[in-house]
């Protein structure tokens, strides 16, 4: 076995040798040469820095200190204390890092992303649309004239989704070359139309590339004469149709007719003043300054019309003219379309449409009988109508406006269809959707209506919920109303709130406590008709609430960040001081102090502070911070009328304090007057409770310590029970016992004492018969003693509470004083009795002074305790007979300040935090001063070294 180990040992040492060799050669052949070459490089790099530092070190100390303040650690670097420099710099960068990490300085404000809930529709649609688009291409009537296919957009669509689109087969292919979904669309009738389409596109291109004026010079690029003839035929047929349906024809015709008619009328001797021929062929003739409507002329005109139409030559002329023009029309139409497309793309489209819509709307309204003065058709669909010189805004009447809007759309489409200008009203909010939708529309010769389009599309999306729809609506609406959008964004976008980090936002929040309360977006409900009526879910347009600034959270964070700043300030000052001192030392002694020594000394000297730190931090953020918060609240108007997050609270300065010390006006809650009432009762209570317990305990201790008492300890154990039981429990028990129908009253009733008092007139009367003055003071209750609920005689309850409190409080003093008494030196008594003092004198001159002196410091503590004795009041009387109401500023008859504050803070119907804070501060000032004064008097504090 040992041989094995020997062998292993040999190999182990060999291996060790090997590794050592490798290591050494690594050093020799790699590190050393690298270092050799690196050293000069480093030297070159660091030499200037070194030089710079040396120069800087020559600056006066306070300058170095200032530099260190600007960039922490820099001073230490100049002083060549690298570790300290690193530490300070790390803290510095930590602070800056926190500020930037908690803020979002880089992002831009985006109302949709940041504030409005719901998902964007885009992804849903873009995943969907190639399929959908493709299916719907089938519905295109392939034989509609001049429905030329614009495949560029389909190409675009395909590309953006990672597919390819093959025009020849009209198929989408995915990246692997596989067909996406559908059959080809085949155009069953003539390839002619395909060809025409192609040709027309060529024409279009020609037109586009040619200058607009030289249409005459365009040649149809057609392959052969036959085709050309065919095309021309078609064009003529189209032209004739166009002529007949074209509004130009109508106009032309009517022009003709007008001329003729005017001639005729003038011949007949009428004075034709303003002949205005609209298409209904009514003419206004002024005869002798009276306007007559000459629909009687219709016959005449009809005749003329027929004549004209039947005048085939005329028509032919016209037609010929138009025929030529029709090509032009087509070309012009194409130009128009291109222009339109350009307009649409460029953005004037909206204006164009708006104008068009505006005209139509005006027409409608005029038709309804309104006088449309200034028709200002902005995109919020508000119209100003002047009816009898009053301007009305139709904005609120969404229903009416909606209907009109729909009408307008429909009318528009009709008129559009009628004019055959392919203007399509689109809604879009990103270029993708934009293009797609635009592409789709262009495919459609006659599109039913925008609404149906949206319905069709939206109906197929299943993953959207109400929030998403509302977001989409808002998007659409704001696309049309960019001014409104920017107003809202300006309103909501507060740089400090949205962008800054922990420290800056904290400071701002502290100063302003928020500047924006809730904003509601409701305008988009006006276009709610766009929402699909889907069967499975109820989709409705709802107002979108944009959260405002949450005042109390801002205040809280502000205070926290300021406290952190205090700590940072401490480090900052330490940094500057250290830089200053060290550089002075260096200048004087020419030696850089040893950092190790510094840290050791630090540990030695600051050991105390280091140990104190955890408790200090805990106290700062859990005890001090809420106190500052409470202090701050006292200077605000944080109450039930101003509740974040719905509303903001703001600084009101000393107003609350003024209110406490002044007389209130009738309407508002009389906090001031009530405060003094409650305060005086609190004082009375505190004094009474303290002294009754103190002297009660004293008397009891004296009795207990009497020599005649046997088994003193047993008696003491019994009598100390009230103190031993948790005060909370005893207080609650009293509440039960002294209930109007509780145990005590039952006993009193059964023993006949109740009857006795009734006979004496102190019980048994109703509330209203309580009487006044002394009679009232002696009113103990209605049927029973109303210990806790005597509304007519609150002093009864108050005195009762004081007496009851003795039960709770005397045992402590009794035990205490009993202990003091037993520890009094017996020899004092002996000496006194030798001198002839009676028992009573001994008591008066020895016992009493010593005991009282020993326990009097407790008086102040007990006084403070009773001043703030929440439990006795709250649990036993609940604040006293009479629930606090508005008139009494919510204070009951036995409420002391602290229980009142509790009510003001905790009761969900009251919530006057600002006043509660004010009172707390006042309490603190009183009790705090008292306690501090008392404490500084004690020996201990003075002796403390």
């Amino acid at each position: 076995m040992s041989k094995v180990f020997e062998l292993l040992g040999k190999y182990y040492s060999k291996v060790k040798q090997f590794f050592k060799f490798v290591y050494n050669s690594f050093i020799k052949w790699v590190i050393k040469p690298v270092w050799k070459y690196l050293k000069p490089v480093l030297f070159i790099v660091f030499y200037p820095i070194n030089f710079l530092l040396n120069q800087l070190a020559k600056l006066p100390s306070f300058v170095i200190a200032i530099l260190s303040g600007l960039i922490w650690g820099f001073g230490q670097l100049i002083n060549r204390q690298y570790i300290k420099a690193l530490i300070f710099f790390l803290i510095f960068s930590l602070v800056i890092f926190v500020e930037f990490a908690t803020g979002s300085y880089n992002e831009e404000f985006n109302l949709y992303n940041d504030k409005i809930p719901g998902n964007e529709i885009e992804e849903e649609l873009s995943n969907y649309l190639p399929t959908w688009y493709y299916y719907n291409l089938k519905e295109i009537n392939p034989t509609s004239e001049f429905a030329y296919e614009d495949f560029t957009l389909l190409h675009d669509v395909a590309e953006s989704n990672g597919y390819t689109f093959d025009e020849s087969t009209l198929t989408f292919y995915d990246q692997l070359g596989q067909v996406i979904e559908v059959d080809n669309i085949s155009y069953s009738t003539s390839d002619m139309f395909v060809f025409i389409g192609t040709q027309l596109r060529t024409i279009e291109e020609e037109v586009i590339s040619a200058s607009a004026g030289n249409v005459d010079n365009i040649e149809l690029i057609i392959v052969d004469d036959v085709t050309r003839a065919k095309v021309l035929d078609l064009l003529r047929v189209q032209a004739e149709k166009n002529v007949l349906e074209d509004e130009n024809y109508e106009a032309l015709l009517s022009d003709q007719v007008v001329l003729t008619a005017i001639e005729e009328l003038v011949e007949d001797g009428h004075i034709v003043d303003e002949a205005s021929w609209d298409t209904t062929l009514t003419a206004y003739i002024t005869d002798n300054n009276a306007a007559l409507e000459v629909s009687a002329l219709e016959e005449l005109i009809d005749q003329k019309h027929v004549q004209l139409i039947s005048d085939i030559d005329g028509l032919e002329d016209v037609a010929a003219i138009l025929a030529k023009k029709s090509v032009l029309n087509i070309v012009e139409g194409l130009l128009d379309e291109q222009a339109e497309r350009d307009i649409r793309v460029s953005g004037d489209f909206d204006e164009l449409v708006a104008e068009r819509v505006s005209e139509i709307a005006t027409a409608i309204l005029v038709g309804l009988g309104h006088l449309v003065d200034e028709v200002d058709w902005d995109n919020t669909l508000s119209i100003y109508i002047a009816d009898h010189a009053e301007a009305l805004v139709l904005q609120g009447e969404t229903q009416l406006v909606n209907e009109k809007y729909i009408e307008i759309y429909d009318i528009q489409f009709e008129s559009i269809n009628a004019t055959q200008t392919k203007v399509y009203y689109t809604s879009y909010y990103n270029s993708h959707f934009n293009k797609l939708f635009g592409a789709l529309i262009l495919q459609f010769d006659s599109v039913s209506s925008f609404k149906d389009m949206m319905q069709a599309r939206l109906g197929q999306l299943t993953n959207m919920d109400n929030d998403d729809y509302n977001k989409m609506l808002a998007r659409i609406y704001f696309e049309y109303n960019p001014e409104l959008y920017s107003t809202i964004v300006d309103g909501v976008n507060n740089v400090y709130y949205e962008r800054t980090g922990f420290f800056v936002k904290g400071a701002w929040g502290l100063a302003t406590m928020g500047s924006i309360s809730q904003t509601t977006l409701y305008q988009h409900k006006g276009i709610a008709f766009l929402l699909p009526s889907s069967g499975t879910q109820t989709i409705e347009a709802r107002s979108i609430e944009i959260e405002g600034h949450h005042s109390t959270q801002l205040l809280l964070r502000g205070i926290i960040s300021m406290l952190v700043v205090v700590y940072i300030l401490f480090v900052f000052i330490w940094n500057i001081k250290d830089a200053y001192r060290t550089s002075k030392t260096i200048k004087e002694t020419k030696v850089s102090p040893n950092e190790r020594q510094y840290f050791a000394a630090l540990y030695e000297n600051f050991f105390e502070y280091i140990v104190l730190t955890p408790a200090l931090i805990l106290i700062t953020f859990i005890s001090v911070m809420p106190i500052f918060f409470g202090l701050a609240v006292a200077f605000t108007n944080y109450n039930i009328e101003h509740l974040p997050p719905g509303q903001l609270i703001s600084w009101v300065g000393f107003q609350n304090f003024v209110e406490v010390f002044s007389v209130s006006s009738g309407g508002s809650i009389d906090f001031g007057g009530q405060f003094w009432k409650v305060f005086s009762w609190t004082l009375i209570w505190a004094f009474a409770a303290t002294f009754t317990c103190f002297f009660g305990g004293f008397v009891q201790a004296v009795i207990l310590n009497n020599t005649r008492v046997v088994f003193r300890k047993a008696w003491r154990a019994i009598l100390i029970l009230p103190w031993a039981m948790p005060a909370l429990i005893s207080q609650m028990i009293f509440r039960v016992m002294f209930n109007d129908n509780g145990y005590v009253n039952q006993v009193l009733f059964r023993t006949g004492i109740t009857n006795l008092f009734t006979d004496w007139g102190m019980l048994g009367r109703g509330f209203n018969e309580a009487g006044t003055g002394l009679q009232r003071l002696l009113y103990f209750g209605d049927q029973n003693f109303q210990w806790l609920s005597n509304e007519a005689n609150p002093w009864f309850v108050r005195i009762f509470i004081i007496v009851l409190n003795v039960w709770l409080g005397f045992p402590f003093f009794m035990a205490l004083m009993s202990g003091v008494m037993t520890s009094i030196d017996k020899s004092l008594y002996e000496a006194a009795s030798i001198d002839g003092a009676t028992g009573f004198q001994q008591f008066k001159f020895i016992t009493m002074p010593l005991v009282l002196f020993a326990t009097s410091p407790l008086l102040v503590m007990t006084f403070s305790g009773n001043f703030n004795n929440f439990g006795v009041i709250y649990f036993i009387t609940g604040g006293g007979p009479g629930d606090g109401t508005f008139e009494t500023a919510y204070a009951g008859s036995t409420d002391i300040l602290i229980s009142w504050i509790y009510k003001l803070t905790v009761d969900a119907n009251i919530r006057w935090y600002s006043m509660a804070s004010v009172f707390s501060i006042l309490i603190f000032l009183i009790i705090g001063t008292l306690s501090a004064w008392n404490f500084t008097r004690t020996r201990a504090f003075k002796e403390d070294d």
């Binding site: 005649r708 088994f711 008696w715 407790l858 803070t905």
Partner: protein, 354 residues
């Protein structure tokens, strides 16, 4: 009338018994006999006095000694004292017995006599099992959960209080440093602030961190609230430990930390246990904080839960309240009685010696 008479007779009887006892002991004392034994024998009225009167005195007595004891003045004085004691004891004990009685009462209304006619343990069962059927409707209670919550909170408070306060108090007690007096005064002043001021802030703070409804979060507040007072207490105690111990340890080469752990801590076990005990007991009786910060009923602590038994107007349950009160009060009362001397000293030290 009957009740009154009954009560008065009992009272009278007790006073007489105790007066006689006292006289017996006085006589026994004068005669030099064992007073404790005399105390017990003296409880038997009449017999005790006669017994001791007959005894031979162990030492010389003056002639007036015994007659003085049996003088009218003395007897009246004794009777007076004892009537006061008995009356007061009545007043002290009656609520407690009444609570016992209520807790054993089978109806849920207020008990009108001091002891129910059909005492039953139904209320205790109700509290521990969590539910019972009353007239066909099931009533539930989360008493056990409340107890457990409060126990956890109390335990954690105890541990963390001691941890945070001891080291800090040590530093204040032993070392001089800049800002010490100011720090002490600040701590004192902090204590004076009514907790309501911080209530809203704490609530907002907890809301921000999602800590409402979490009883353990209360521990943070209790611990930091306990720091001021307990620093005083422990500091005062530590100041009584002679500095020479420190110095000799330093000479032996101990550093500050070692002095703390090896010398100071073992000597301050009494005061640390006091702090631990008081901190353990404090959360059981705190109503204000849990009532505001904890919303779910099953996460309440005991104080809030118990008060709810009698405050919730729709659903008052006085016997359950009494039973719960007793369950909670019993251990604390016992602790207080056993450690009363200590506790009183501690409380006065807080105001007195510092």
């Amino acid at each position: 009338m009957n009740l009154l008479l009954k009560g008065f007779l009992i009272f009278l009887a007790l006073v007489i018994i105790f007066t006689l006892q006292s006289l017996t002991v006085a006589i026994a004392n004068k005669k030099g006999k064992n007073t404790t034994k005399a105390g017990f024998i003296g409880l038997i009225p009449g017999f005790g006095i006669w017994y001791y009167l007959k005894m031979k005195p162990e030492r010389k007595l003056s002639i007036t000694a015994i007659p003085n004891i049996l003088s009218v003045k003395n007897i009246l004085g004794t009777a007076f004292i004892y009537s006061e004691l008995v009356a007061l004891s009545f007043v002290v004990i009656v609520p407690i017995i009444y609570t016992f009685g209520t807790s054993l009462s089978p109806n849920s209304g207020i008990l009108n006599t001091i002891w129910p006619e059909n005492p039953s343990l139904i209320n205790y069962k109700f509290l521990f099992s969590g539910s019972r059927m009353v007239g066909g409707i099931e009533e539930t209670t989360d008493f056990v959960k409340w107890y457990w919550n409060t126990l956890q909170v109390a335990f954690l408070t105890m541990v963390f209080s001691v941890l945070f306060v001891t080291g800090t108090a040590y530093v204040f007690a032993r070392y001089k440093f800049k800002g010490k007096k100011g720090g002490l005064l600040t701590i004192l002043v902090l204590q004076m602030f009514p907790s309501f001021l911080s209530l809203i802030a704490i609530f907002t703070l907890f809301q921000t961190f999602g800590l409402t409804n979490e009883p353990k979060a209360l521990v943070i507040i209790y611990v930091s609230g306990s720091i001021p007072f307990n620093i005083w207490l422990i500091k005062g105690y530590l100041q009584n430990i002679p500095k020479e111990l420190d110095e000799s340890a330093k000479i032996d080469g101990a550093n500050k930390v070692q002095i703390f752990f090896k010398i100071i801590l073992p000597l301050s076990v009494p005061i640390i246990s006091f702090v631990a005990v008081t901190q353990f007991m404090a959360p059981w009786m705190d109503y204000i904080l849990p009532s505001y910060l904890i919303i779910d009923e099953d996460k309440w602590t005991l104080a809030v839960g118990i008060f709810d038994f009698i405050q919730d107007v729709a659903n008052t349950n006085y016997p359950a309240f009494a039973a719960a009160a007793l369950i909670v009060a019993a251990p604390i009362t016992l602790l207080y009685i056993v450690f009363q001397k200590y506790l009183i000293e501690g409380i006065t030290a807080g105001a007195n010696k510092g």
